[in-house]
């Protein structure tokens, strides 16, 4: 098995090729080369209203397809029929890179790009449906970072799509506004679905399984906007226990294997009506940037808010999980509090809060962590004091927050 893994690495000419082997032209077949040239021309000539139909078949490409026009549709014959394979990519690093608005992509697969599968930068009215992005060698650090990656965009619909094997996040929405991610499937990624620095996102009816962490709602420092207002509901988030294979230093490298839903440094997050099960570290994590190991004074915008605020967890169905947490601190904590055969409760809060902003020893009403989820228990891990006084006292979370409105997207055709 180990030999097989090494062999795959060498085959992809990544790990072994950097210094010894030249990056020779990929040697696309004449047929694939001609196909790529025609397709590139279609991308170059695209203008508002253009529909680029990509024929069925597995097409080998060796460089990124870049689109710079608005109002374009890219359409395959089905995610299982039209496959763009970038196994021998020499230029990119993305599979498809889009700078454009009123963009639709549907019914195709993107495989084995060196970098992100599909990246959309600075667009408005983006529709992504029935596409599949996959790294076919399974979870590997050498896979591209993001599968489906709209960033700094507005009005985004991602539906009925899937991502497999991303070395960061499978479906990753960054620095965007008004987002719906629904009926998608994320598996074998470090993070299944990640909403980051994004305002107004609805994430529902997705399945996240077999990732390191299932669904993440994060805010990172130094970026164009702070995110807030994300609803995570009616998802199936189970068995996300794959060892973290992100390169160190990446934000998701701090996610422990076996994490269901993770909120970090974000605010106004609602987690409800989900089935969350068998995530071995813990089913839900609520945490501050201080828990990521990346906090350092000179490198972080002083205006960055590192705390999770206004988090509301209610009416989820939890089962299993918490029985084998990742990382020494959590392992020790579990054994000390719940015994060798015990399990961490369903919700873990790292315990960091804005101490400068307390009313009667609690965050102001609108900024609290509220849990209304049957007999689900919150463990305050007491991270600020190196896990010295963890507690499962539930008194602090007996509250409700106003429900967030649904995300409204402009209608689609």
């Amino acid at each position: 098995m180990r030999q097989l893994a090494v062999w795959i690495l060498c085959l992809s000419a990544i790990a072994c090729g950097r210094h010894e082997t030249p990056s020779q032209p990929a040697g696309l077949s004449a047929e694939d080369a001609a196909f790529q040239k025609r397709l590139q021309e279609q991308f170059l000539d695209a203008k508002p209203g253009t529909v680029i139909d990509i024929a069925p078949g597995k097409h080998a490409l060796d460089r990124v397809l870049t689109l710079r026009a608005d109002g374009v549709t890219i359409r395959g014959a089905g995610a299982d029929k039209t496959i763009l394979s970038y196994k021998n990519q020499i230029s990119g690093p993305e599979g498809i890179l889009v700078y454009g608005s009123d963009f639709t992509i549907e019914d195709l697969s993107i495989e084995d790009s060196k970098g992100d599968g599909l990246k959309i930068n600075d667009g408005e009215n983006i529709t992504i449906r029935r596409i599949r992005v996959a790294w076919t060698g399974g979870p590997q650090t050498t896979n591209g970072a993001y599968g489906i990656y709209p960033v700094k965009s507005r009005n985004i619909l991602i539906e009925d799509s899937s991502s497999w094997g991303a070395s960061d996040a499978g479906i990753y929405v960054g620095q965007s506004v008004n987002v719906v991610v629904r009926r998608c499937h994320a598996e074998q990624n470090v993070a299944g679905i990640e909403i980051e620095n994004t305002v107004n996102a609805d994430v529902y009816e997705n399945t996240a399984t077999g990732n390191t962490g299932g669904i993440l709602v994060f805010n990172m420092p130094n970026l164009s906007q702070a995110g807030h207002s994300t609803r995570v509901f009616k998802n199936k988030v189970h068995g996300n226990n794959v060892g973290n294979f992100a390169a160190k230093g990446a934000a998701v490298a701090s996610v422990p294997a076996g994490a269901g839903v993770v909120v970090n440094s974000n605010s106004k997050v609602e987690i409800f009506d989900n089935d969350i099960a068998d995530n071995k570290t813990v089913n839900v994590i609520i945490s501050a940037y201080y828990s990521t190991n990346y906090y350092n004074k000179p490198g972080i915008d002083p205006n960055y808010d590192p705390y999770p605020r206004a988090i509301f967890v209610y009416d989820n169905r939890f089962s299993g999980g918490g029985d084998s947490p990742d990382g020494l601190d959590l392992k020790t904590l579990k054994v000390a509090m719940f015994g060798l055969n015990g399990r961490l409760p369903d919700i873990l809060w790292d315990g960091y809060r804005d101490e400068k902003n307390l009313v009667n020893g609690q965050p102001p009403g609108q900024e609290r962590i509220c849990v209304k989820n049957g007999n689900a228990v919150v463990l305050n891990a007491d991270g600020p004091h190196k896990y010295k006084n963890p507690t499962t006292d539930m008194a602090a979370y007996q509250c409700e927050l106003p429900k967030l409105p649904p995300v409204e997207l402009p209608s689609r055709t």
Partner: protein, 385 residues
Amino acid sequence: VNAASPFKRVLIRAALQLSAGLMLAACSQPAPPVHFFAEGRPQHLSEWQVLFRDHGRLVTNDRVVPYDLNSPLFSDYAHKFRTVWMPEGKAAVYAGNESFDFPVGTIITKTFFYPHAAGGAAAVARTYDQSRDFAGAGLDLANIRLIETRILVRREQGWEALPYVWNADQTDAELARTGDEVPLELVAAGEPSEPFTYVVPNENQCAGCHVTDLKTKRIAPIGLKARHLNRDYAYPSGIQNQLAYLQKIGYLKDLPPFADVPRNADWRNTHETLDARARAYLDVNCAHCHNPTGPANTTGLSFEPQTAADRHLGVCKPPVAAGRGTGDHNFDIVPGRPQESILPFRMDSRESGVMMPEQGRGTVHREGLALIRDWIAAMPGQCGV
């Protein structure tokens, strides 16, 4: 002078060219004027009549002005020959930080070439020595191999980028809208040769660097800015500051006093400060994407000359979307510790998905990497918690 006589006009122009030394061969073969195509994509570079072959040289047409940059973009050790041409009576307007405002009709060319090297068909020299590149003011085709010439043309609706790839006989270059891949092998004395794929960008990849503002989405020249051009050039008429020369020939107006004109360092000039050299290098290699309006503004990392030397420049800044490009490091730049910094790690890679810049190179720029490592090593401070 009878201006109506075309023959005399040619003679006069030839004489002018001769005296300017720009095109010694023109007297034997009068050149038709530069052709500005207001639309369309000519199939051959020669149709523009900016550059052409003459007696074993690649020479420039009348009023086509060559220029160099203080610190150029690294492109797999290719040598570059840059020219600018403007229609008669038109001039660019000076700008302090941005590209100059060029008139409609402006044609910029950049020709990428390598000195020959001993070895197989793919062998080219890895060298900074340009002493054998030129014969007079033209490129000496006996000593070099032309790879591609990129045209930036200013049309009514804006700039457009057109890549041309030179044929095997080096007689002309053909339009390559979808780019090209050229297998090459860098050869330097006393070292193993380094094979790589030279990637000619497609039109959209041209825009990958030349669209420096995602909101306007307009293509713009990168090199033709005051700080890059503010240096001397050896014109046939003598050595002169490029901006002063452009002003003198009527190509540039509103040039302020030189005390007010910014100047980037020559990154190879060890008489300049390490900081000035590193910042000039990062400016021209990175800032077209890594600026507050550019495609890499998603990362919060900026390499413009005016970027403060703090987290905005990557000092102690955690990466955002680097993926495996982190190289297992936590911060873009760790002062004093290049070996723990992401920036030089990505410069040291030639693997798509890890390497920076993302396009335009298939080799590692050893000397540029060494400069950035030295710069970080000398940087004071630390990333304390």
